[in-house]
């Protein structure tokens, strides 16, 4: 069944008319960098494989991808390099995986970040989504495992969700290649700037912390007027993140 779906998709006109070419691991001379982030067990690697045509192993395990996997695809004559980040629950802690994911989003400055979430566990996954949206405003939410959600009678109002989060939301079932063409199209729209996101920012933080963050953000903006994620940097400074402190000093953030 799957192979059938697979091949119909690859030969269908919609798919190819748009000029998709899976590039596997050949990612030279790319035009855009796309980061793939998400919780463990959301089928992130399956999305990665669906996009690149690679067959990276995807265990049913939390935290399987430790080594950063890279792949690529070509869409409408533009080349995209895809970086699969380790699956994490959050970006706030100090474990090796989280640091790798955090640093890539912050310093790798991907042109687009695809956040893969499990449609069945949206609430739990949003924790990470909200953190990523503090770092970058060029993101798309990949609402994966829609097939399982359907089986569990979970229905999601994609439009409202998209409006609330301020970023495009694409429902997919990467295992069956459903939604992948739409995802690719959305990625390209964000990459070339036709689609501009206004991401949700975390609200209702307790007074004393919000005040401290505001003070810091003003100071940071004074020094780096063009930085998009001054609030996130303020969060990190309040946590005493040495990485960020050093990056501020060396000017790596600009």
């Amino acid at each position: 069944m799957e192979t059938k779906l697979n091949s119909t998709c690859e030969t269908c006109t919609h798919f190819n008319a748009n000029g998709l070419k899976k590039l596997g691991i050949h990612t030279h001379n790319f035009d855009f960098v796309v980061a793939l982030a998400g919780n463990p067990n959301t089928g992130k690697s399956t999305v990665f494989n669906a996009l690149t045509g690679l067959k990276q192993h995807t265990g049913n395990w939390p935290g399987k991808t430790v080594i950063r996997a890279e792949g690529g695809f070509e869409y409408k004559t533009r080349k995209y390099k895809l970086v699969d980040l380790p699956g994490t629950y959050s970006l706030l802690s100090t474990s090796e995986d989280e640091e790798a994911a955090r640093n890539f989003l912050l310093f790798g400055k991907p042109n687009v970040t695809v956040i893969v979430v499990d449609a069945n566990r949206l609430e739990r996954n949003l924790n990470l989504v909200l953190q990523i949206l503090e770092i970058t405003d060029k993101a798309v939410l990949c609402l994966n495992l829609m097939d399982e959600a359907k089986r569990n009678h979970v229905s999601i109002d994609v439009r409202t969700l998209s409006r609330n989060l301020g970023i495009p939301v694409v429902p997919t079932s990467a295992r069956f290649n459903q939604g992948i063409p739409e995802l690719i199209h959305t990625i390209s729209e964000i990459a070339n700037g036709t689609l501009v996101c206004k991401p949700y920012r975390i609200q209702n933080i307790p007074q004393n912390i919000e005040k401290a963050i505001k003070v810091l953000v003003t100071e940071i903006k004074k020094e780096f007027p063009h930085i998009p994620n001054s609030r996130w940097i303020a969060f990190r400074l309040l946590e005493g993140d040495t990485h960020i402190i050093n990056a501020l000093r060396s000017g790596e953030l600009v």
């Binding site: 265990g59 049913n60 399987k64 959050s90 474990s95 609430e123 609200q203 000093r249």
Partner: protein
Amino acid sequence: MNQKNIDHIIELSNELRWQIGDDFHDTLTESMYANASNIVKNTVQNDNSKKRFQLDSKIDQIVTSKSFGFPIMFLILGLVLWLTIIGANYPSSLLANLLLDTIYPSLKSLALNIGMPWWLTGFLIDGVYLAVAWVIAVMLPPMAIFFPLFTLLEDFGYLPRVAFNLDALFKKSGAHGKQALTMSMGFGCNAAGVIATRIIDSPRERLIAILTNNFSLCNGRWPTQILIATIFIGALVPKSVSSLVALFAVIGIAVLGMVFMFGVSWALSKTVLKGEVSTFNLELPPYRPPRFWKTLYTSLIDRTLIVLWRAIVFAAPAGAVIWLISNINIGNESLAIWIIQSFDGFGFLLGLNGVILLAYIVAIPANEIVIPTILMLTVMVTGIAGGEGTGVLFELDSITDTAHILKAGGWTLLTAINLMLFSLLHNPCSTTIYTIYKETKSVKWTAFASIMPIIIGFIVTFLVAQFWRLLA
């Protein structure tokens, strides 16, 4: 950019952190989850996510139940191992036939025809080619069976349940339940087992799993154990039960390995590793039907071939070394004989002999070539008939003939038992050592992981030999 302003920002953040206090992380996480549930409230209808799927919980109830949980687990692991060992026999002999009995002679005659000098033929074909061919023939089939089976279980989502069931046991020795899986993976191949420790996200427990993986009797060592147990231990009892007794002896060794794994894990967590950070978490993911062909393909590419390639890279020079030490003469004797004679005393003290020790040194790259090396060296030392020539690895199809050669080499029941013990308790193969280094990025832990088991091996075989001689 002004350095002074940046210093000011950092000073300011320090000052503010002082004012806010320690609760920053807690409060931030709480607000984020509050935000998340707000968003979900408006967008997710018929929210069933609080309940887990019916089928999932049914399966979970069974595979973690008091009465069925463990039997199911042992049944599955036993089945996987049985399929691997039995199922590998046929393709292994097929490969051996092809690589050793067909290609090897034709390579030799080809070399003769084009007039290659004997030393080059010996070095390249008898040395390098033979060792590589051996490793492929013995290693590939079991791995090509074991890894896909294991990967299927993994993709289905069963393995986290095994970790869940067994965690209490591993906790007692300071380890993580997921070590049950890296250990089982070690039965296939220690290098793969070491890579698999990536699933353990707690630094201390991961190091423990890496350092003790070698105590899982790997694929390369099963054939040695089975052969020696059949010849020496199976022979002690009537023929009708001999293969059963031999099998139990091998299982006994594997279980002993687990005992050492638990003991060493415990000792490590109480001593050298007690300062490492330890956090436990184990998510039980939903079951997902694995996609058979895809799994087969990826596990072959990702696990089997990578490990096999590493093994080949290491085996090639080993073959060269084996051939060289047998063919380079110092005085009247070959280098190998000199080394064997100088090791004999120490070997005797351990209930082994110089041949075995030398074989284990040159066979660091792969345990698969230990038996052929021992046979070749024994023939060389004793001067009895048999074998293919100096420096040429060989194995015999007939167990009686193998027994004959070993007994001519002075082997006793003690030698056999201690060889089985030493095969379990010695340094990891060089592929594993290299993998440990890649995973830990620490020379210290790599050295520790290499030396610790061999010291244990020396002590155990030494004690067994002394008590044996006292009581016999």
